[in-house]
């Protein structure tokens, strides 16, 4: 046990150092690509807190991304805030919004929760499209980061990396505390969790809010990096779906599952779009379909179970077909 924990800790450290040093040895294009992967890794890991550990499949997490992005844009452009303060406010505002929305919406279960969160995200997008302060569909320009081009690439990469590490570390610490047990108990059986003394409303709302916090941070960095945001990409349902697919593909309810999922899916789609200019999304759809049919538990499961053979895939089908 001790030995194992030490080894995992060591491996994590190595990976972290590897990730931190990697931009120093590569070109801007690759750094930018790495930044994108990190952004999705944050969102998928944050989604994992509410969707993977608590069992509430939020289909509206993009709303926190959008809120984070717009908070940064409005605060920096209209109120003259510096990025640091805008960044902090973005996460906090998303977290507060999650509490307000979560209190009524987290009373719903299963599909109904999924659709309600989807509705919240779409309603928010429609609202932002109509508000004056967000400049509707024409979007907002942000002040540019005053740095050399290379420096900018470094800045956004390391911001994303730091946010991801904070997200994973928070998740790890909470999971080993009583709070983590309460989330998993809710996922496994909410009524039983309530009856053994878990304040389920509180626990769910906190999980939702934490998930929002980190997603909001990601949105904030994204907005500053793009220097211009509009409602459509900032609130698009496809971002939500992407984070879920990444979390599921990598392994829901596992600490590093979403990170692994984000990495593999981004790399796969990048390779595909290099080779098939027009049809890459078609192949991407095919991969999602095949992955879900053959490995519904995600690649983390294959790695931890060490069962990479045909019968593993067939067993998955045998278990779930009619």
């Amino acid at each position: 046990m001790k030995h194992n924990a030490l080894r995992s800790f060591f491996i994590c450290g190595l990976i972290l150092i590897g990730m931190a040093l990697f931009p120093l040895f590569t070109n801007n294009f690759i750094i930018r690509f790495g930044t994108d992967i990190l952004m999705f890794a944050i969102m998928a890991s944050a989604w994992n807190i509410i969707g993977g550990y608590t069992g509430y499949a939020s289909f509206g997490n993009v709303v926190f991304f959008g809120i984070g992005a717009y908070t940064t844009a409005v605060l920096m452009e209209k109120a003259g805030f510096g990025f640091a303060l805008a960044y902090a406010s973005s996460g906090l505002l998303a977290a507060v919004f999650a509490i307000l929305v979560g209190l009524p919406v987290l009373r719903l279960r299963g599909h109904y929760f999924a659709i309600a969160t989807l509705g919240v995200a779409e309603a928010m997008k429609a609202l932002v499209q109509n508000l004056e302060i967000t400049e509707g569909n024409s979007g907002i320009y942000l002040p540019m980061l005053d740095m050399s081009v290379r420096g900018q690439y470094y800045f956004f990469f390391y911001m994303m990396l730091a946010t991801l590490v904070a997200c994973l570390l928070t998740t790890y610490i909470l999971l080993n505390a009583k709070f983590g047990y309460s989330l998993i108990a809710i996922r496994e059986d909410e009524d039983a969790a309530n009856s053994v003394g878990i304040n389920t409303t509180y626990a769910k709302t906190m999980a939702f809010s934490l998930s929002a916090l980190f997603t909001g941070f990601a949105g904030s960095i994204y907005a500053y990096q793009q220097a211009f945001i509009k409602p459509e990409p900032a609130f698009t349902v496809h971002t939500t779906v992407k984070m879920i697919v990444m979390a599921v593909f990598g392994g829901m309810g596992k600490l590093f599952g979403p990170l692994l999922g984000a990495f593999s899916i981004e790399v796969i789609s990048e390779i595909l779009s290099d080779h098939f200019l027009v049809a890459h999304a078609l192949f991407f759809g095919t991969i999602v379909i095949l992955a879900i049919v053959f490995t519904p538990k995600g690649i983390m499961d294959i790695i931890t179970e060490r069962k990479l053979n045909v019968s593993y895939f067939l067993e998955n089908i045998r278990k779930h077909r009619v």
Partner: protein
């Protein structure tokens, strides 16, 4: 003025109802949230478009084709794909449906480009007046009547045929249905076929009234969600009531607030209904 708005809303609401009927059937029977629903509507629309453009087949006639083609597609997808993982968590089927959506949309994009197209029928612009203030576009009225016909057929299939009985029994208790001799795998495939067939019909009617493009499906899926939720799962009346409510609410909202508020209104209704009456306006409270 008000009467005209309400009538516009009802006519569009009928189409919403038809869209939601298929989604509600699939959801209710198999607990699948078919994210690809809008993509099937899109395929129905393009079936009609090509039959009209290439062969000159009247859109209303092509209804038969779009329903049958989409039925076959739906049957095949359920039988050879979704049935493989149907007993995994509902969440997994949701993502599978998402994969199907990406696939269909992008296949359509590759085949037909992102161009927006229109089915231009000669009688497209004709309309007639009712009283002094209300004008009714003929095509919309015709489409609305077809929705009623298709809905009635649906109702008949579900309640009066063996297929309907096997669908309902499977929805209520999978194992028990197997034990009385229902072929569940086939029933699932037929259910998905029917639901997707209804989406095809909705696509045909949509293409007569509005412009179409390969990416049109996303928002239609969302609208179908709204309608299913407003009406509540589990009865044929649900989608109809939900569709009409949404249609009228949107018509009123866009008249009074401007058409950019249309989506805000639909999704606010969706969230409110879910929070206040999670079983839909037909279902009981709580």
């Amino acid at each position: 003025m008000l009467a005209q708005i309400v009538i516009n809303g009802i006519l569009k609401g009928g189409l919403y109802a038809l869209m939601a009927m298929g989604m509600s059937l699939i959801w209710g029977v198999m607990d699948i949230i078919n994210i690809a629903h809008g993509s099937f509507i899109m395929l129905g629309a393009f079936t009609t478009y090509w039959l009209f453009t290439l062969l000159g087949i009247d859109p209303f006639v092509s209804l038969i084709f779009s329903i049958s083609i989409l039925f076959v597609i739906g049957y095949g997808i359920q039988k050879y794909l979704i049935n493989l993982i149907i007993r995994a968590s509902a969440f997994i089927t949701l993502i599978l449906a998402f994969g199907i959506e990406i696939f269909i949309n992008n296949a359509a994009l590759v085949a037909w480009t992102a161009d927006v197209r229109k089915v231009k029928v000669a009688y497209g612009a004709s309309n007639f007046s009712l009283g002094d203030w209300v004008t009714i576009p003929t095509v919309r009225l015709l489409a609305f009547m077809l929705v009623i016909v298709i809905g009635t057929i649906f109702f008949f299939i579900l309640n009066r045929t063996d297929l309907g009985r096997s669908i309902r029994s499977t929805a209520q208790d999978l194992d028990a249905a197997q034990l009385v001799g229902v072929d569940v795998a086939r029933t699932y495939a037929l259910t998905f076929g029917l639901g997707v067939g209804a989406a095809g019909a909705a696509g045909t009617l949509w293409s007569i009234l509005f412009p179409i493009s390969p990416m049109m499906g996303g928002i239609l899926t969302l609208k179908s969600f709204v309608v299913v939720i407003i009406g509540g799962l589990g009865s044929m009346l649900g989608p109809i009531l939900g569709g009409l409510t949404l249609g009228v609410a949107e018509a009123m909202g866009s008249t009074w607030f401007g058409s950019t508020y249309e989506n805000l209104i639909s999704f606010t209704i969706l969230v409110l209904v879910l929070i206040l009456r999670p079983k839909g306006i037909l279902g009981g409270a709580d």
